[in-house]
Every structure is written in structure tokens, then in C-alpha cells.
Symmetry: C2
Subunit: 256 residues, 2 copies
């Protein structure tokens, strides 16, 4: 989720968490990272999201954030343990970076010769460390979002050619989304309407909750609601969201 | 808290959290980091610990851990914001490091010329980044605990001379504690007895909860219980706890 002004994610999360073992088979832990200004609140839990006390807290406790990344895991690589739960966080240029990945990268063993090393055993964290390493080599200090998008659009295909790389990345300023097999997004803005969750019998009237100035982009592997327009992100496409809207579309360079 | 086998911290935390605005004046946010194997669960909250929904969850939900670091903040440097809440986490050598600091460092601006940079505005996070930087320069890969203790006993005084530096640091394997003005510890081991919290009308019989094999060291600025033996850590002393016991005592080099 990427928003213009800090918003709570409680509604979308209520449906999303059901996919962690109830309406979907992703039951091998979960996690959620909220940016609050430059800070991050990260909650990870190796228990299935659908019966995690931490998930229950998140669904009840409105943490207002401009950028949120959440993930429910189906273990393909790495045991069901805290250190293998997404999202992963690293610091670069005095800012936190939050990353989550859906997919499977086979034989992806990029050389990690600088300061970022995986703590757990997932292909995802390894790919994230490589992205951070290459970003740190490409820029001496935090560049503008456009510049970062250009660099990422060169780096991401080098990972994506190893398999399925649906991924979300945020530095608290922007949200990058790379589509590989399935990823879609919707933008909620004025005039707001009623949204009906796909995974739970729950609907909400955003017109009652939001002011006309608010705007939010929600990205997910499959649509979270049944009555909003969700746009598929094409395979190989890297999108960037700022202030709750799509900012730039980069068709990534073809795989080599 | 440093334990021989994973233990829940719910009892000690119940008393500790009261100091975040109720029995003490540390009401500017709080945080707690739990190691689970190599993974870390970090909870930070800019709300006072005594009425934080997250603190309430921690007090109810037993997360079993071998190393736990918690902190309640009285802001002396840096606004009351998520990014300024302790503990802070960084990755080095493929392991997470968790750090918390009680005290005040004046004019402490060590040069950060490598990969660790503060995200928030506290003197504490800056000192932590410097410690991580110097550790990464001193060793190519994760050394043994003894070796780390030797390096830390050279580094810590270089920070401590700028002010008050009561600090806790863990890599999930050991817990380092440096005393400056106030820090004390107790070791709970067989035969276990009844402990009475200092900050809440609550007692627990550890003999009923623990097996004779268990052992836990608890370090705090002031004793958490009224009927256990708490040993003060002398000013300038760096202690290291492994498997719930005191491992080595290093008298740090005198301040220059």
C-alpha cells in the first residue's frame, strides 16, 4: 500500500490475513512492515496469519502509514522460521528499505561481496541483499525516486531471469512493484465508494472514511476486493507508486 | 534477558512496561527485540509502554527467546517518533545485531564512513552505527564471542567517554552489557524460587515454571524484583552473558 497521507490498512489486512491458511494455502508465516516517517514497524510471525495473535492485533490496531508491505508465506526455499519471514529490512543511506517477494528463484546465487548478507535461508532475502548491494554501488547517496527507478529497472531483470519474481520494495518514499506471473493494483481516490473484500464477508464505504484529498494505491498478487478495478502488472514490468498514484512505468530490459 | 534455552519474558515485561509512564517517567516510546534462532522480532511503539496495545500483546503472548532486549524511552535527543525508538537493529556478517542505550552522549559525533548510518536522530543510534562500523573493520567474518568481547572492550570506552553509556547489545548468541551509571543483573537458576515484581503487585514461582536445566540472566537499569539478588555493574565494566550466565568480565580501558 502506498498513500498520499498516512492511512490505516486494517480493512485490506482483514481480508489479506485470511489467505494465510484459510482462503489460501500460504500458511508458513507472515509479516508486515509499516513506514512511519523514516521509521519502520516490522511484525513477523512464523505462525499462520489466520490464527496469529500478532495478525489479530494488526487487524484491530490502526497503525497509520504511507507505505506498507505485507507478505504471507508459502515456503518453497528455507524452513518455517522467523528469519525466513518476509518482509526483510535493511538500512542503506540512512533509510530503511523493506522488501517482499512472491515466487521462486532457482539457482540464483549472486555474489555478495559487500555489506549485505542474508540472515535466513531464502532465495528472496539473498536477492534483496544483492539489490541493496548494487544500489549502494550505483549511487553514493540516496538519489531521487526517478533515478532509483532507472537503476532498479536495470537490476531487477538480472534477478527475474532466474524464475518468478513478483516483488515489492519501499524506502518509505515510494513503492516499487515488479510483476512476473501475478501482481495487480488498484487506486482508491475521490469519489470513493464501497469496497467488498474477496476473502471475508466485509465491506467498507471509503467515502465515509476518507477526505477527497486522500489517495491510496494497493498492490496485491490477486485482487483483494470484488468490486474495484484491479489492473494486472505485466510480466517484466516495474511500476513505481508515489503519493498513492502510479508514477512511472518502466518496461524492464529483456532477460539475457 | 539471556537464556540457556528459549524462555518467555512475559513476567519480567509486565513490571518493566509499567515504568513506561506509570511507575517511572520514561514515556516517550518503547521497544522490544526477541531473537528466535537467527531471526529477530522487533516491536517498537512511540506510545508510552504503559498504555500501548502492542505492549499489552507482548505481556499476554509468550514469545520464547534466548536473547531479548527491551527499552523504554525518555527522550533526551531526538523527537518522540518510531525511528527514534530503541532497540535498533542492523545486519552484520549475516546476523542481526540488536542494541539499546540508556543515557546521554554529548558531542558524540563519530565519523561514519562505511555502511552503517542512523535513520533517526538519536545519539544512541549514531553510537550503535559506529560500533557496527568498527566491528566490521576489525573482523572479516563473525568471530567467536571471546574475540568480539575483546574488540568491544576496546571500542565501548571510546563512546562512553562522551557521557552516560549504559548499553545492551546482542547478536542472538551472547548479550553484552556495559555499565556507566546504573545497570544491574540477576541470574535465575536451580533451585528456582518465588520472585516479586517491584513495579506491579505480581509474583511468580519460577520453580513451577522452569526445569532444573534452565538458567536465565536478566539485566536492567534498576532491579525488577524485590526479593532476588541483583548485582550492580560497575562504571566502565563490560559484561557478557552466554547461556544465561556471566561469561567473562572485562574492565574496559580507562577513559581518555
Amino acid at each position: 500500500m502506498n498513500c498520499k497521507s498516512p492511512m490505516a490498512v486494517t480493512f485490506s489486512f482483514a481480508g489479506f490475513a485470511q489467505r494465510g491458511g484459510r482462503t489460501d494455502h500460504h500458511a508458513d508465516g507472515w509479516g508486515i512492515g509499516f513506514f512511519e516517517n523514516r521509521g519502520v514497524r516490522l511484525f513477523v510471525d512464523p505462525a499462520p496469519a489466520c490464527d496469529s495473535p500478532v495478525a489479530e492485533l494488526i487487524a484491530r490496531y490502526p497503525i497509520k502509514s504511507t507505505n506498507v508491505i505485507s507478505h504471507i508465506r508459502k515456503a518453497t526455499c528455507g524452513a518455517v522460521m522467523t528469519e525466513n519471514c518476509h518482509p526483510f529490512v535493511r538500512e542503506l543511506w540512512g533509510r530503511y528499505w523493506v522488501f517482499a517477494h512472491n515466487g521462486d528463484l532457482r539457482d540464483c546465487a549472486p555474489r555478495l561481496h559487500r555489506q549485505f548478507h542474508p540472515v535466513g535461508a531464502t532465495d528472496s532475502e539473498r536477492a534483496f541483499c544483492w539489490l541493496m548491494q548494487e544500489l549502494s554501488k550505483a549511487h553514493a547517496d540516496m538519489p531521487a525516486v526517478d533515478e532509483l527507478t532507472r537503476t532498479l529497472s536495470e537490476l531487477v531483470p538480472q534477478i527475474a531471469r532466474f524464475g518468478v519474481f513478483n516483488m515489492l520494495l519501499s524506502n518509505g518514499e515510494a513503492l516499487w512493484a515488479h510483476g512476473s506471473t501475478k501482481l495487480c493494483y488498484t487506486v482508491r481516490q475521490h469519489p470513493f465508494s464501497v469496497a467488498q473484500l474477496a476473502d471475508e464477508d466485509l465491506s467498507v464505504d471509503f467515502a465515509l472514511l476518507n477526505t477527497p484529498q486522500e489517495r491510496v494505491a494497493v498492490v496485491a498478487t490477486t485482487p483483494l476486493t470484488t468490486n474495484e478495478t484491479w489492473t494486472a502488472i505485466a510480466s517484466g514490468q516495474l511500476l513505481v507508486f508515489i503519493d498513492g498514484a502510479l508514477a512511472l512505468a518502466h518496461a524492464a530490459a529483456p532477460s539475457q
